[in-house]
């Protein structure tokens, strides 16, 4: 384990700049032969950017890549593959309409007399897959195989093509526990053959189950690389969420629990495969924070509350009256609002103007038969552009030309224009600059003072603590803990996520 001979892939001082943002800042990463190395971080931490720099999908802007002792600079994924770096993605990148064997040997089919020798190809495919303890009909179409088998086929192809470094990008996201175990057995075998494996996931228990070392990134920077065995779960979560342990956090202003009447009550609310049934009460003028790691069910909770996903169990009450929220339309009728996490795909409509984006939800509620008069639209747009300080040269500018923070504010304006009484914000400060963070937080606080009920999902624990009176902690698609008043501190939240983890581990 000593000397550089152990290192199969070494990345030093990697830099990657996107217009307006530094995605990777002087990141170092070293992969040993025969190790499984977890690459962890929240959304936007830079894991996928780093991987893309290694696989040649992106050209890095600075730094050195050394594979097997030689400098490399892959121009594209093929070159990386030829050099020995193979990648398997969460979405299986194989062709469902070809057979298993054709997928394994596409572009390098064995030939005889110039024609593809199908029998030989099938025989080789069979032999290759038997090395993965997979005994399937290689002549069957790939689409007839389960996702787990497809995943194994993808790994077999990647290893067969490259053979030095294997990058697994969230390969387990759509597998069940048994299939994950099968996959891990394969990864262990590849590891014993001396392959270096980079494993990206957001399931921490899988990290501890299979990984030797862990590298954590945050905001494009390296937080650290540790041996998995010497890194307690709690410390790992703190690394990922950016809290040093023991650091005491200033108490937020609104520590006492709200005392208003409960306006929204959800009992046993859940949807199979999305989020375990949970109970949730929200009072008038209260901000309830939702914390948890990526994939813990945060967004699923928001979607089910808003009716974007229909709940298949439980009841919802508004002001004591039982209601059924089966679609976003009914949710809007009950004066719910929802700002989704990914505003590029779920929120803004890029080519419409700021004004049109702002009046969209209000118009949807009124129905197409009663258009909002143009003067009224202008008035609304101007009001929110001033009130939220949306920085745009004029209200008719296409919204895609605005910065992230201003787009976010425009989406907020869209929902505020409908006069919601219950507003769900999913990651309202993601991907916007620091100055805009403070403004959004101020906005959340003032909305709450006006008597609105809010649910805010955020991975920025500082912010969550600043405005939440209660924080619900999620893990593995279930609500596992609730912190109230005095308990709402970042270290408590980190602890709650970690403790919940231990519970799970102990079972």
């Amino acid at each position: 384990m000593q000397g550089n001979d152990d290192i199969i892939l070494s990345a030093t001082g990697i830099e990657k700049v996107f217009p307006g943002a530094k995605a990777l800042n002087n990141v170092n990463f070293q992969l040993r032969r025969g190790e499984v190395h977890a690459l962890l971080g929240e959304n936007g931490a830079g894991k996928s950017t780093l991987v893309k720099c290694i696989t040649g999908a992106y050209r890095r802007d600075g730094g050195k890549l050394v594979l097997d002792g030689a400098d490399i600079d892959p121009r594209d994924t093929f070159e990386a593959q030829r050099l020995g770096i193979g990648t398997v993605y969460q979405e299986v990148n194989l062709l469902p309409n070809l057979t298993v064997a054709e997928n394994l040997f596409l572009g390098r089919q064995p030939r005889r007399f110039g024609l593809v020798d199908a029998a030989e190809m099938n025989r080789r495919a069979k032999a290759l897959l038997s090395g993965y303890a997979l005994d399937i009909d290689v002549r069957a179409e790939l689409s007839s195989c389960s996702v787990a088998v497809q995943q194994v086929v993808a790994i077999a192809r990647a290893v067969d093509l490259s053979g030095k470094v294997l990058i697994l990008d969230e390969p387990t996201a759509s597998l069940d526990a048994h299939e994950v175990e099968m996959l891990f057995a394969i990864v262990r075998r590849l590891k014993s053959q001396g392959l270096g494996v980079i494993f990206i996931t957001h399931f921490l228990e899988q990290v501890y189950a299979i990984c030797d070392r862990i590298t954590v990134l945050r905001n494009g920077q390296l937080v650290g690389t540790r041996d998995a065995a010497a890194l307690p779960r709690r410390e790992l979560i703190a690394m990922m969420l950016g809290r040093e342990l023991g650091e005491e956090i200033k108490q937020a202003g609104n520590a006492q629990a709200a005392e208003g009447a409960v306006r929204y009550r959800f009992r046993g609310y859940g949807r199979k495969g999305h989020i375990e049934p949970f109970d949730l009460e929200v009072r008038k003028g209260e901000v309830v924070g939702i914390a948890g790691l990526l994939g813990s069910g945060r967004t699923e909770t928001a979607e089910i509350l808003f009716g974007a996903q229909k709940a298949d169990s439980g009841t919802a009450e508004v002001d004591g009256k039982s209601v059924e929220i089966s679609s976003p339309r009914t949710a809007i009728r009950h004066r719910f609002g929802f700002c989704p996490e990914d505003r590029k795909t779920d929120g803004i409509i890029g080519d419409l103007s700021v004004r049109e984006n702002i009046v969209l939800a209000l118009q949807a509620r009124r129905g197409w038969a009663r258009p909002i008069p143009r003067a009224e639209q202008d008035r609304l747009a101007d009001r929110y552009i001033t009130a939220l300080d949306i920085r745009t040269s004029d209200r008719e500018k296409p919204i895609r030309l605005l910065s992230g923070g201003n787009q976010q504010k425009a989406i907020l304006a869209r929902w505020l224009a409908t006069n919601p009484e219950f507003l769900i914000l999913d990651e309202p400060t993601r991907g916007i600059d620091v100055g805009a963070h403070a403004e959004i937080i101020r906005l959340i606080e003032s909305l709450c003072e006006q008597g609105m009920s809010l649910i805010v999902i955020s991975s920025e624990l500082d912010e969550l603590v600043a405005y939440s009176r209660r924080v619900i902690v999620l893990r593995d698609r279930a609500h596992v803990s609730e912190l109230v008043g005095e308990e709402v501190t970042t270290s408590h939240i980190v602890e709650a996520i970690a403790v919940a983890d231990k519970h799970e581990a102990g079972q």
Binding site: N93, L94, P96, N97, Q109, L115, R139, E141, S144
Partner: protein
């Protein structure tokens, strides 16, 4: 049965059932004369449909086929009339032009990222227009070599004839089947039909394959044009209008998925034969309007589209519960 064979099996079953029905009513339908004519009469359509099969398997479409056939015919007729070139040399020239024409369309589709529908639509107008530039009249071909070629045939027992062009069509189908299923190019065609992005990630040379597919389609349309000129002994710029649509119909009836990625070249032959059979039946009957051909083909197409939808729906459900 492997689900990928279901549409092909349906096609074969329909063909056999239809032939059996025809035979019950007109026992002569099974004579080698009818079969020989079936091949000869549909030779040009069959050859063009092989090219169309490759295009559709890759997820594209080629609307220029009919125009290229007409252009090739007029080109051959005009050149033979005005020069002393041997027909074989003219054929080579015509094939070269048609192949280049297809290849350029493929290059435009790939490099300018244009939908094949629009590019080949433009190609359709262009080729038809070029045919008109060469001649607006029907130009007869009187070269003695044409008579020689028409004299080539293989006599089947019972008096039927496999003519040169009928045999050529069968040969093109055999080669097409080999190319589709036994070459890397063929695998790449299916790969493109399965998903261009994924195919690219898996190392398929997307640009080269796309250009080759349309060049192949152009080549076969040119060959089809030669066959058509042999069949009619003339070149006329208004001929072969809508042949591309007949070819698409034959491909779909032959069990190839219009969305690409799934189907067989052999199925297209059956599709051609089904369409030819309907035509033959109407000829035998004598009292039916020939438009019944179109009506029946229309109904068959609807049937196959429904079959494909149902098939896709079933396979999706199966995957969900797998």
């Amino acid at each position: 049965m492997n689900p990928r064979y279901v549409p092909l099996a349906a096609t074969v079953a329909i063909f056999l059932a239809a032939y059996a029905l025809c035979f019950l009513q007109y026992p002569n339908m099974l004579s080698t004369r009818v079969i020989g004519n079936l091949l000869t009469d549909n030779a040009f359509l069959g050859i063009a449909a092989v090219g169309m099969t490759f295009v559709i398997l890759s997820g594209g479409i080629d609307l220029s086929i009919g125009s290229v056939i007409a252009f090739t015919g007029v080109f051959i007729a005009v050149v033979l009339e005005n020069t002393g070139l041997h027909p074989l040399v003219v054929f080579m020239l015509a094939l070269g032009i048609a192949t280049l024409f297809g290849g350029v369309m493929g290059a435009i589709i790939h490099h300018l990222e244009m939908p094949p529908f629009i590019v080949t639509l433009a190609g359709m107008f262009l080729a038809r227009g070029m045919a008109f530039v060469l001649s607006i009249d029907s130009v007869p071909i009187k070269h003695p070599f044409y008579a020689v070629m028409k004299g080539f045939y293989y006599r089947l027992p019972g008096g039927g004839r496999i003519t040169l062009i009928g045999g050529l069509m069968l040969l093109v189908f055999v080669l097409g089947i080999l190319i589709a299923h036994r070459t890397r190019f063929g695998a790449n065609v299916y790969a493109l039909g399965g998903g261009v992005q994924t195919a690219r990630l898996m190392g398929v040379p997307v640009a080269r394959t796309t250009i080759e597919i349309y060049a192949l389609s152009g080549f076969l349309a040119g060959l089809s044009g030669i066959v058509f000129s042999l069949y009619t002994s003339a070149g006329y710029s208004l001929s072969a209008v809508g042949v591309e649509l007949d070819a698409i119909a034959a491909v779909v009836i032959g069990g190839t998925l219009l969305t690409g990625g799934s189907g067989f070249v052999g199925g297209t032959l059956i599709g051609i034969l089904i369409m030819g059979l309907i035509q033959t039946y109407i000829t035998f009957d004598g009292s039916l309007s020939s438009w019944w051909t179109k009506i029946l083909i229309g109904l068959l197409l609807f049937g196959f589209i429904l079959l494909q939808k149902g098939f896709l729906y079933l396979s999706k459900n199966k995957r969900r519960f797998a």
